[in-house]
């Protein structure tokens, strides 16, 4: 997993580094400091993991704007909860949980107004470049995103955490609050649905 706080033992100078690379103190130390009120430590965590969490939320919600809001609210809620964060899970896994739950809640609240034949809301302004380049470089991505919209939010969460963010079944089970067996079941259905969706286009 990127940005998981690996450090080559000379991280002390990186305390004040700007921006999000993987250099700097490991996540667990930053999380402890942030829990004790050190907002500078928290900012390092936000910059380090913001991009990864934005990717997850964008694919969950299908909207860059909504994803930014969801991740922003998740970080603020994490700041409030950090004094109770005991470090049983890695900070990033803990953030995956907060972001995933927020996205799921948002999607569930959308359901009643979503009709079977509704055209999914697609936000493209930020991604519109040369159509040709999009067609080549982003083809796999867009083909997959379209298929992902056919999954239930719960299936999509499991599938994204596993295939795009590399979490284990156990970590996903913790993240979404179901058993590893249930994660397995959702992964199975998600894959089958994705394969069928793509087969239909061939």
């Amino acid at each position: 997993m990127p940005g998981n706080g690996d450090d080559q033992g000379d991280g002390r100078d990186a305390d004040h580094t700007e921006g999000g690379g993987t250099a700097g103190p490991p996540d667990r130390l930053l999380a402890v400091r942030a829990g004790e009120g050190d907002e500078a430590a928290f900012e390092v965590l936000v910059r380090r993991h913001g991009p990864e969490l934005l990717r997850l939320a964008t694919r969950m919600l299908g909207s860059a704007t909504e994803a930014e809001d969801a991740v922003q609210e998740s970080f603020v809620s994490a700041w409030r909860s950090l004094p109770e964060f005991r470090g049983d899970a890695a900070f990033l896994t803990w953030m995956y949980r907060i972001v995933t739950n927020r996205c799921l809640n948002q999607l569930r609240s959308r359901r009643p107004v979503t009709h079977l034949d509704a055209v999914p809301e697609r936000e493209t302004p930020g991604h519109e470049g040369s159509p040709v380049r999009d067609a080549e470089a982003g083809a796999a991505l867009r083909e997959l995103s379209a298929a992902l919209e056919g999954l239930s939010p719960e299936q999509r969460a499991c599938w994204l955490l596993r295939e795009m963010h590399g979490l284990s079944y156990e970590e996903i089970a913790d993240t979404v609050g179901i058993s590893p067996q249930a994660v397995r079941g959702r992964m199975f259905r998600a894959r089958r649905a994705l394969m069928e969706a793509m087969a239909a286009w061939r």
Binding site: E39, A40, F42, Q72, V76, W79, Q155, M198
Partner: protein, 225 residues
């Protein structure tokens, strides 16, 4: 396709109570084997996929190794895997979503909810200067990390128990230690650096500095965790 929990993927049948989103059953559960999970050759899709993932499924005795149905199911799965790999590669080659504006907004909100901790006395007992705990802790962590092979985590600064609000404070600092030095020596170096910074850089009277080594890390290689 709508984001609707009741719209199953095509071909899975929409039998009531079999909502794929809600059902927590497992395809390998004997109670649920069968129906649409079975390939025409009689093997379950789940078993074939398990083979693919390296966890051998339950191939029936004598099932042909080159069974066309199993092979087709695996080919479909590989197509999906391939798409996943390409998407992950695209992610790696595309600039990460710009999170700097997001980070600024988050920090603006966080600064409305700071937790500075208690005020601690600066200078002599009769003076009236103070420093908040988080600011003192940050300076003391920095001091601890001037010792080679030390990373600082928790740092608590509080008036010693039973003393007045302007009495000297007690510092409890947790560190992770690189494995190259003897721990007593390293802990003493941290204690001395922290006490020195409190006295000279901050101007805070300290009665005691407790150094707790909470973890060891390998300075030459990967983190233990």
């Amino acid at each position: 396709m709508a984001m609707n929990g009741h719209s199953g993927p095509p071909g899975t049948g929409g039998s009531p109570g079999n909502d794929p989103a809600r059902s927590q059953d497992c395809p390998r559960d004997p109670d649920h084997a069968g129906d649409d999970d079975l390939l025409p050759c009689g093997r379950s899709l789940d078993d074939v996929w398990a083979d693919h993932e390296g966890a051998p499924g339950e191939a029936p005795e004598g099932h042909p190794v080159d069974c066309v149905h199993c092979t087709a199911a695996l080919a479909d799965l590989r197509t999906l895997d391939d798409l996943v790999q390409r998407t992950r590669a695209e992610d790696e080659n595309t600039p990460a979503p710009d999170a700097s504006a997001l980070a600024s907004r988050v920090m603006d909100l966080v600064r409305l909810e700071l937790r500075p901790g208690r005020s601690l006395p600066l200078g002599e007992a009769e003076e009236d200067h103070w420093i908040v705990e988080t600011a003192a802790a940050r300076a003391l962590r920095d001091a601890a990390e001037t010792v080679a092979g030390v990373r600082a985590g928790s740092c608590r600064v509080a008036p010693a128990a039973g003393s007045g609000v302007r009495a000297p404070v007690r510092v409890t600092i947790e560190v992770e230690a690189g494995a190259r030095r003897a721990l007593p020596e390293l802990a003493e170096a941290v204690r001395s650096a922290v006490a020195g910074a409190a006295d000279r850089a901050i101007g805070m009277r300290v009665s005691e500095v407790d150094v707790v080594v909470v973890d060891l890390f390998d300075e030459t290689g990967e983190d233990p965790r």
